[in-house]
């Protein structure tokens, strides 16, 4: 979006965040998605998360591939640069951008076709590379934009709109991310904003690759009876394993849960994530146990949700690459160019 001055007058009752902005300041242009599309709810949750974190809009970078889901970065934070790249390749664009400027907040929006079919390789490698970003996969079990073909996340037996059952096994991005070593892995539902917002906030503050798979129904092509990615099916089968409370740096910790079931994880920037386990046996810090648990719930047709696995770490692509702390785009040319004297020295070795 090119910059178009916003009307100065604001609704006096609008809440303001720590930097004096209102939720309106985190909006984008009007959505052109189908009315009721899950993706629009994810956009709304993102706007709230940005607002609550009091992020400077122009310090956000929005990246996506191609799909209905990939269109949504236009619909939030219009004062942020956005990049709607090519189908399935957003992770590489994000990695390159992040390599060049590590100081900005990267938010990637993808779809199940974008991440699990054409872009499966890039998705996996972004996790391995640990690109510092929030990666939101808006998962509807179909290719929305090309009109409803099954995607790789469609469950066996799930029915297409025309009544055909899917026969191929699904790729579950959550277990995939876990097995590839992701340090922040969550699943949520576009229809559950209360659950979604704190997870998005925690994901934005997490150091490294933060992955959230959001079941986000496609009302036009995959919301019928027999679909396992419909609103109705998700509502009845969703099972919240951990409740997430995001506590920003310096904020007072509200003792909301009984301490025995709470696991607190401190993030890189000093903020805290408090995870309340609905199942006392569940341990969101034990990767292997989480994988087992997810396997068992999936076998029962249940959809486990929440911030399922979290590890507070200092690592990301830059720590692997040992890059300087300042963004590379800010390193002055004088520092980068060795000059003629060094060139002469080097050439002595070429004789």
């Amino acid at each position: 979006m090119s910059y178009i001055a916003k009307p100065a007058a604001r609704h006096p009752q609008m809440p303001r965040n720590a930097i004096g902005l209102t939720p309106r300041d985190y909006e984008g242009s009007m959505s052109t998605l189908c009315a009721g599309c899950g993706h629009d709810s994810v956009t709304a949750a993102l706007i709230q998360a940005f607002f609550e974190l009091a992020v400077e809009p122009h310090r956000v970078v929005k990246v996506s591939g191609i799909g209905c889901s990939a269109k949504t970065p236009t619909y939030f934070v219009s004062e942020a640069h956005g990049f709607n790249s090519v189908h399935g390749r957003m992770p590489s664009v994000a990695a390159g951008a992040n390599a060049a400027n590590r100081e900005l907040l990267y938010v990637g929006i993808s779809g199940d076709g974008d991440s699990l079919s054409i872009g499966l390789g890039q998705f996996c490698h972004a996790i391995r590379r640990n690109v510092n970003m929030l990666y939101v996969l808006e998962n509807n079990g179909v290719y929305g934009l090309t009109k409803g073909q099954f995607s790789a996340s469609a469950d066996i037996g799930s029915l297409s709109k025309a009544g055909v059952a899917n026969r191929q096994g699904p790729i579950d991005p959550v277990t995939l991310a876990l097995s590839l070593g992701a340090t922040f892995v969550a699943r949520s539902f576009s229809g559950d904003k209360d659950q979604l917002v704190p997870i998005l906030m925690a994901g934005m503050r997490h150091q490294g690759f933060a992955f959230i798979d959001v079941i986000s129904p496609c009302v036009t092509f995959n919301d019928h009876e027999g679909s396992t990615k419909s609103y109705a099916h998700t509502r009845t089968h969703m099972h919240e394993v951990v409740e997430t409370d995001f506590v920003p740096l310096k904020a007072e910790i509200r003792t909301k849960y009984d301490e025995g079931s709470v696991k607190a994880v401190t993030l890189h920037d000093g903020s805290t994530v408090r995870l309340r386990k609905t199942d006392p046996e569940y341990d969101p810090g034990d990767r292997r146990a989480v994988l087992d648990y997810l396997g068992a719930t999936a076998a029962e047709g249940e959809v486990a949700t929440g911030l399922l696995y979290l590890e507070g770490t200092e690592d990301d692509m830059h720590s692997f690459e040992n890059t300087v702390d300042a963004p590379l785009v800010n390193v002055p040319f004088d520092t980068l160019c060795p000059g003629s004297a060094v060139l002469d020295e080097i050439q002595e070795e070429w004789r």
Partner: protein, 626 residues
């Protein structure tokens, strides 16, 4: 060549035939460097298989007192170290030439030729008796043949030993072994043969202002000097050494002395698609970013290249060409990607491309590529090839202007944005077809949505015909205007245009120059232009106009440069002839002279260029109404 009357001192070619993985590379490097240090113009070309160990490999060295560096297929001497390839190696020696072989085992009579001289040296036997351990024996066999060549060719022993001393100054036992092997080969040759041979070396002073380097290393250094900070790549021969070089020089020159952290980020991508995406992401963010690859990689990057073209994201691609299509002959050279690079991707696209002819230009054009990419906000290709990229070239010393300021193009700063009333990403406010660009994170007023989908000049999504066409028409005008900024064609011509002209590109240059000098000696002047950049400009157009017939010389089957010229200039197709060679070896002057024969009556009859039988057999000549 039947006689070597004019060959002899500082003017001949020889080649070492060995087995891949036996450590001959360092012995051959030693030879090449020794000749260079003797002040004699020299080139080394490595002809290697796509294999790690066990297949035949060759190293060709040409010495030429006049400074000609093109490949010469006329070998006066073969060091035949590989029984597997004896037949073809011995076959290739010119009549009257020499074959140096290991006579530990007697040479089968079937390999004998009456018209060449055999020099047997019991390399294996001597090494077995003097050294322990099979690996050492194999390595020292290489150094022993170097010792024999020192005697046979009259190489300066002090220079060779000086180099060994330098190399092994900290490893006394290796130095001792190497000295022993060198002396052993030298003594045996002196004792058993007339040394030196008629083909021999004499110290000159023709390399003082030169260095010896390959194009990939030079290109990598160019990236360091241009201020590139992000490099993304996926390994592929023959481009891999670009990133090896970049990484090596960055480790040396780009580590912050205080923190020990890197002022660069090199990402080994999962494939070339990702490498392209990373370059585009980093460039969009404002870094100078590049990816080195070869033809198959450019194929994979093509979707992204279209995005970068349409969304106007500066991005630098190095294509070190190899013999295609598909895996083709990955360790042989070709110029088969000229068309692909200039028009890569779907839809209407056209790209800036630079064509270096040697490592010096790889360095200079690497820097230019970043300037052009950022000035014109578009993908820019540096198109070299395996011969330039991986072989050892003698080039004039590189120079660097410490006053160089990178051209970052039209980028609005935070201050400029603060003052601006409005900013529209794709609006041509200056009338130069280039819109202003903003970088993420700089200022809220600079924010816009970068997309590969239809957009109007304000950067807004559109599916409107007029709005769409307005933008793509500007893109064409923009890229065309780069024709005046790419390196100018290099012209070799007299005061009056000759009737016939020649055009070539990239590494063809050296063979063409040599052929042109040969013709001049016969009193035949032919004007010549080497194209160094795309889009073509007025100079190209004028050269075509000034000559009645123009022969385009290039290294691919499909006459890609000739076709590009017919597409992009006013030149009538009938006027253009073609000489192509695409067998995977660097071009030699024989290819050019044989190809020219139908065009130059004085050369006609086929026998005009004796000694180039090899070239004639695989040179295709397309006759277009000469």
């Amino acid at each position: 060549m039947a006689d070597h009357g004019d060959h002899g001192v500082n003017d001949f070619a020889f080649k070492v035939a060995t087995v891949n993985g036996t450590g001959s590379a360092s012995a051959n490097g030693l030879l090449l460097q020794a000749l260079f240090r003797m002040g004699i113009p020299v080139t080394g070309k490595n002809v290697f298989p796509s294999n790690i160990q066990g297949l035949p490999t060759w190293y060709e060295i040409r010495v030429n007192k006049d400074g000609y560096t093109a490949r010469s297929p006329d070998f006066h001497l073969i060091v035949a170290m590989n029984p597997q390839s004896y037949a073809r190696d011995i076959e290739e020696v010119v009549s009257g030439g020499w074959v140096l072989y290991d006579n530990t085992r007697e040479l089968d009579d079937k390999f004998r030729r009456d018209d060449v001289n055999f020099i047997g040296i019991p390399l294996a036997e001597m090494c077995v008796s003097e050294f322990d351990g099979s690996r050492t024996r194999i390595l020292m066999k290489n150094i022993t043949y170097v010792g024999a060549l020192v005697a046979l060719l009259d190489i300066d022993m002090d220079v060779v030993k000086g180099m060994l001393q330098q190399k092994f100054s900290k490893k006394q036992h290796l130095m001792d072994a190497n000295f022993k092997a060198i002396d052993m080969g030298y003594a045996y040759a002196r004792e058993h043969y007339d040394c030196p041979l008629p083909i021999r070396l004499e110290t000159m002073d023709a390399t003082a202002d030169h260095v010896m380097i390959n194009g990939n290393t030079a290109a990598a250094l160019g990236c360091v000097y241009a201020g590139a900070t992000v490099g993304a790549w996926y390994p592929i021969t023959p481009s891999t050494s670009v990133m090896d070089g970049f990484s090596q020089y960055c480790k040396r020159l780009r580590v912050d002395p205080e923190t020990g952290k890197n002022n660069y980020c090199i990402i080994q991508a999962e494939d070339e698609l990702a490498a392209a995406g990373m370059v585009i992401g980093a460039s969009w963010m404002g870094a100078r970013a590049f990816t080195p690859t070869s033809g198959p990689g450019i194929s994979l990057m093509s979707e992204f290249i279209g995005l970068a073209y349409y969304a106007e994201i500066p991005s630098v691609f190095f294509n070190v060409q190899r013999t295609g299509p598909s895996t083709g002959m990955p360790t042989r050279t070709q110029q088969g990607d000229l068309m692909m690079c200039t028009y890569a991707s779907h839809g209407d696209t056209k790209h800036i491309a630079l064509f270096p002819a040697n490592p010096k230009e790889c360095f200079e054009f690497a820097v230019a590529a970043f300037d052009l990419a950022e000035r014109f906000q578009t993908p820019t290709f540096l198109v070299s090839d395996l011969d330039i990229g991986m072989n050892d070239w003698m080039i004039p010393r590189l120079e660097w202007d410490d006053d160089y300021v990178p051209d970052r193009g039209k980028v609005l700063s935070a201050e400029e944005l603060e003052e601006a009333e409005s900013f529209y990403r794709y609006l041509d406010v200056d009338g130069d077809h280039i819109a202003y660009r903003t970088l993420p994170g700089v200022h809220p007023k600079g924010a816009y949505f970068t997309r590969g989908s239809g957009h109007d000049k304000y950067g807004r999504y559109t599916e409107g015909s007029a709005e769409y066409m307005e933008v793509v028409d500007r893109l064409l005008a923009k890229v065309n205007s780069a024709g005046d900024r790419v390196p100018e064609p290099e012209l070799h011509q007299g005061a009056e245009p000759t009737e016939l002209g020649m055009i070539s590109i990239g590494g063809c240059h050296w063979a063409v120059l040599e052929a042109r000098d040969d013709l001049a000696e016969q009193g035949l002047a032919v004007d010549y232009m080497r194209i160094r950049g795309f889009p073509f400009n007025e100079t190209v157009e004028r050269f075509l106009e000034q000559h009645d017939r123009v022969v385009v010389i290039e290294q691919n089957r499909d006459e890609q440069l000739r076709k590009l010229i017919t597409i992009e200039t006013q030149c009538p197709k009938e006027k253009l002839g073609s000489i192509t060679y695409y067998g995977g070896q660097p071009l030699s002057k024989g290819h050019v002279l044989d190809g020219l024969a139908p065009w130059i009556p004085e050369l006609a009859g086929g026998g005009a260029t004796p000694g180039f039988a090899d070239a004639a057999s695989d040179t295709a000549v397309v006759e277009v109404a000469p």
